[in-house]
């Protein structure tokens, strides 16, 4: 994918399997949204296509795909219901079916009293809910969600995530761009990390965690941890640390090492490395900030 003479996405290819939730991760400007736009033909790529079930994607297959773009917006002068019915019809539903589905969805997201209200009279969060409704109309088999929780308060974020989880349970394939690593760990089966338009890591969440240090330990101690050949310090702030064990070392050996050095350890929790620390390592704290 090129913009002028600048190559933004370079030879990127990945598979998303039916029914899985796939995380497309990367820092700002790493090419996530551009990748999605190129796949959908919104940007014209130098090469490459999106294949769904082995067939190149066409907008006429829109019933199979639901897309929630990063840049949100709907017809602001139209009512909620008219807008939803319009998109439902574009996605292949009859007007009556789109209407019934929309009213049921509006009830689910606590907008049951707003179908006749113009969109520009709704709050930002309410508009987001309508936009999500438009995205998942007609039960698409593939959902592309670009930062789905952007602009949501914590309550509505939980509501939105429950809807996404509901779609996941229903067998919908979901591709999600997000910076919320806890959502990724909870929902995603596999992930890809993009950096400067290039694939940096790709696989199941566990595989990527393994690739970036496998076992980690979260430690609460009374002083900063010293450097050691047994581990790599991932984060160390205000007595809360996360370390990655190096090959051949074990959690119990590291605990003994710390205690022998006179460090008081109040909490010692082995586990897998968090995606957040991997993210920070890959993109660098400055870039992420």
């Amino acid at each position: 994918m090129n913009f002028g003479t600048t190559q933004v996405i370079k030879d990127l290819s990945f598979d998303v399997y039916p029914g899985e939730t796939f995380g497309l991760l990367g820092s700002n400007g790493s090419g996530k949204t551009t990748t999605i736009r190129a796949l959908l033909g919104i940007y014209i790529p130098a090469a490459g296509t999106l294949h769904i079930n082995g067939h190149p994607f066409e907008p006429t297959q829109s019933g199979e795909l639901g897309y929630l773009p990063e840049e949100r917006g709907l017809y602001k002068k139209e009512t909620v219901l008219d807008t939803m019915v319009y998109f439902g019809r574009l996605k292949g539903m009859t007007a009556a079916a789109a209407r019934t589905w929309s009213l049921r969805y509006l009830d689910q997201v606590e907008l049951a009293d707003k179908p006749k209200v113009r969109l520009d009279k709704l709050s930002g969060g309410e508009q987001q809910k309508v936009q999500l409704g438009v995205t998942i109309m007609n039960n698409p088999r593939l959902l592309l969600l670009d930062e789905p929780t952007k602009g949501f308060d914590p309550v509505n974020r939980r509501l939105l995530m429950s809807i996404i989880e509901e779609r996941k349970r229903a067998g919908t394939t979901i591709v999600m761009i997000t910076h919320q690593m806890d959502d990724v760990e909870r929902l995603c089966d596999r992930i890809i990390l993009l950096k400067d338009g290039v694939r940096h890591a790709y696989g199941t969440v566990e595989e990527v965690q393994e690739q970036y240090g496998g076992t980690t330990v979260k430690i609460e101690a009374d002083q900063p941890l010293p450097a050691s050949a047994s581990y790599t310090i991932l984060t160390d702030e205000h007595g809360h640390s996360e370390i990655a064990l190096t090959a051949g070392s074990s959690a119990s050996a590291v605990l003994n090492e710390l205690v022998n050095q006179g460090i008081t350890v109040s909490s010692f929790t082995p586990g897998r490395r968090s995606l957040e620390s991997i993210f920070i390592e890959v993109y660098g704290r400055k870039e992420v900030d």
Partner: protein, 406 residues
Amino acid sequence: MARGNVSTVVSFEVIRTLRTKVFWVGSLLGPLLMVFIMVVVSLSSASASDSSSTVDQSFRFEWVDHSGLVDSSIAEAAGGTEVLDAAQGVADVRAGTVDAFFEFPANPVKDPIQVSAQDQGVVNSQSFSGVAAQVLRASASVQVGNTTLITLVSGNIPTTLTTYKDGQQTPGIWGAIPPLAFIALFFIIVIMQGNRMLAATLEEKENRVTEMILTTIKPTALLTGKVIALGVIGLIQALAMAVLTVIAAVVLMQMGAVASIDLSKLVFQPVPLIFGALILIGGFLLFTSSLVAIGAAMPTVRDAQGMYATVMLLLVIPIYVVMFTLTQPSNPVVVVCTFFPWTSPMVAMALNALGVLPWWQSLIVVIILFATTTVVFFIAARLFQYGSVEYSKKLNIRTVLGAKSK
């Protein structure tokens, strides 16, 4: 599904436009304003007629006649009194004892009548000159004594014209009126729908809807739906205006505010009507596609206004060229404007209606219009697709057209 989506776009766009008050106010305000103006003009005329007769009765003037043509009885009936001295007449006007003084020269054909009068304002004071001329004209008519000769000399000679083409009688102006109506229809639709055409794609960009909608419908299908919707809306608007205009015309005719027209004299000739309709459709599609392309290339309505004005200018300029078509249909300016796509609709429709555009030239015009429309339409679709997420930048058309097709 694509065809279904086009009809979905058409119905969505048409219904939401018809629901707006702005549409109906815009459609009906024009004819209502026209009726209002005609009623006011009619009432003013009646009032002026009444007041002019009042002036005649109260008008007092003096005159001196060096020509010997003025009939004393006519002048006196009009409120005049003959005096022998021009200086006395002027002095009486200055003193305010009379309203006016006319000095008829020895040779009225060569020299003007000298009129001195009380100042009634620039416009009203002209009536004194009118009365002076009328007194002389009426006096001259009495001397001629033959009303036929008077009518002929005054140049008021009625004629009837019958024309033939290929041995067949042609309908003349009554055959030209129906196809000429296409010009009015075209002009009204484009002028009234222009902003809506421009906003057709800008709305999606300004509201950030393009990304989402382009995953449900191809840009060409979306634009096709929008163009068809604009045509339907334009026809509904023209129909609403026509109905109101007809109702107003009937009312005004019954009031006597406008002269009655015998519509049964209209002749509907198939060939000019067919070509007129095709040029109308081609012209509408071309202007719509052009404005849609501008909307697709620009980030906001404000940015698009400059280009919009240029396209609208191409609609207005031919109005002046149409004047030429009546007198000089072979003028090079007329010829160029007939075949230049953006000026062609107005000029070609006029020439077609007046019967000076051969059928094969009409056909060329139609082909040019539809071919240009096709090119502009696909450029518009390309601009819309490529520029759909350029929410704040103007597009570089060369870059867009040079980009590799997907």
